[in-house]
Symmetry: C2
Subunit: 317 residues, 2 copies
Amino acid sequence: MGELVVVALGGNAISPAGGTGSAPEQTRNLWASMEQVADLVAEGMDLVLTHGNGPQVGAILIKNEMARDVVPAVPLDWCVANTQATIGFVATTALSHHLRERGIARPVVPLVSRVRVDVDDPALTAPTKPVGPWFSEDEADTRRATDGHVYGPQGERGWRRLVPSPHPRESLDLDAIRLLRDHGAIVIANGGGGIPMVERDGRLEGIEAVIDKDLAAALLAHELEADGLSILTDVEGVAIGFGTADQDWLREVDLATMRAAADRGEFRAGSMGPKVDAACRFVAAGGTRATIGSLDRAGEVVRGRAGTTIVAGDPDA
Amino acid sequence: MGELVVVALGGNAISPAGGTGSAPEQTRNLWASMEQVADLVAEGMDLVLTHGNGPQVGAILIKNEMARDVVPAVPLDWCVANTQATIGFVATTALSHHLRERGIARPVVPLVSRVRVDVDDPALTAPTKPVGPWFSEDEADTRRATDGHVYGPQGERGWRRLVPSPHPRESLDLDAIRLLRDHGAIVIANGGGGIPMVERDGRLEGIEAVIDKDLAAALLAHELEADGLSILTDVEGVAIGFGTADQDWLREVDLATMRAAADRGEFRAGSMGPKVDAACRFVAAGGTRATIGSLDRAGEVVRGRAGTTIVAGDPDA
């Protein structure tokens, strides 16, 4: 096999903000993305795929809310599992098809996969990530009294539920991922950051939380001793002064420079910030390179020919 | 390994009719079932698991319906995938735990798995299986005009959507199932009958249909050349004259006798009928034995010590 790269597709790239979010639309986007992934595999790259699920979980939470007097709402761990299966089977069908067209018969396997977080992760008692529908302040108060969830103001559109975003510690289905990879399968794993689990009294249980999908991808890349991590999103790369007159796209940057930029607050929380953090963590833990770039140019980004590449040392030294 | 048995758990047994259908309730039921499964594994039985999802898909369809003006409804293939993931990861967590308690470290892998049906299966143009919420006749007419779905009267509670229930032809993820099994994993596959797919113009695509989970289990058992198929449900076995004064539980029956009883109309369509059909098909195709019985006595039923056992020849000959 060629070098191993863990490739993370953004949930927004599968179900873009301007779209309808329908199953046919997500299916079309996945078929297009998987064509690029198939080209990479055909070139001899060894890939493990993962994906985000923000819009998809959002849709399930809205359904939960609107039907809550008739059928029980499902918790967030179940929502994440839901999206792993739907994105997983559609991506598998598309990638298998594109691979067969290229004469490649490797199985593609979408794994329902769990990720352990620390039971005493401080994030678990301080929810910060907004999810699901918007409410007025009064509605949020009523909800809090009923369901015990945490709600917080989110700008002009109103209040939203806030959930914990704990740090991923261990991919619980790593044995299956390794076994499948060792026998030629292309695995899709840790989708949506993985199903969040804690160990309590010697038992694993799912929890109401959402793990950042880029951090879960970085963890998986580290666990698999991958050469590279590629985070594919809807912008062409990482920029200094993003959205300003002085915007400057970064092509190749060493870890220290990138971290200094992050510390200066160059990258937005909940957007480019966590992607840069995940990329830096992977390189700091020994990864050869991390790339961040546009899903439209997935092939070039994964190969390090487009987007932003982060490496350990000074590349010009 | 010991003899291979494909074990099918009923969706109603995971989420019983009298229950709330909540995630904690389904989780408790799965932890209890998986303890019995763990005992079978500890005894040396080689198992592949599958499960139904009727109540779980029903809940998603109600959410689809209630939120349909806000977020797009997901099609039935996506609903099936959803339930494979949730039931799959909870069952995996429970079974892994119970196995570890018995000193067994085998990985358990819940596969998002697809099943192909014939694109010209007559069932696809003649929907018969009722799913989702109930409507009045007027509401059903309005729905039909809007979504193009088929609706039919279902007794006093009103009308329901009718969907095709095509015959399963091929487990599309069999390579992955075999690979995992060959390396010691316990696989959960073809849940909810498998994600229904057809091949059209050389491409596989998901369709709006539901495959009978017992038929999909029988297919998988045949494909894997299993010795046994066990269908676990909420009654103690198969009875002649079920619910009458002459009710007679069957213990061990040969194929010809069971088929004759089915032909006489002894077993209800949509209930015991398809289970008996699936069991008979498996034995007719060369399986050693099929058992049908209560999930509460899973261990004994799988071993053929409780419930009803169907074998090829006359057991008393």
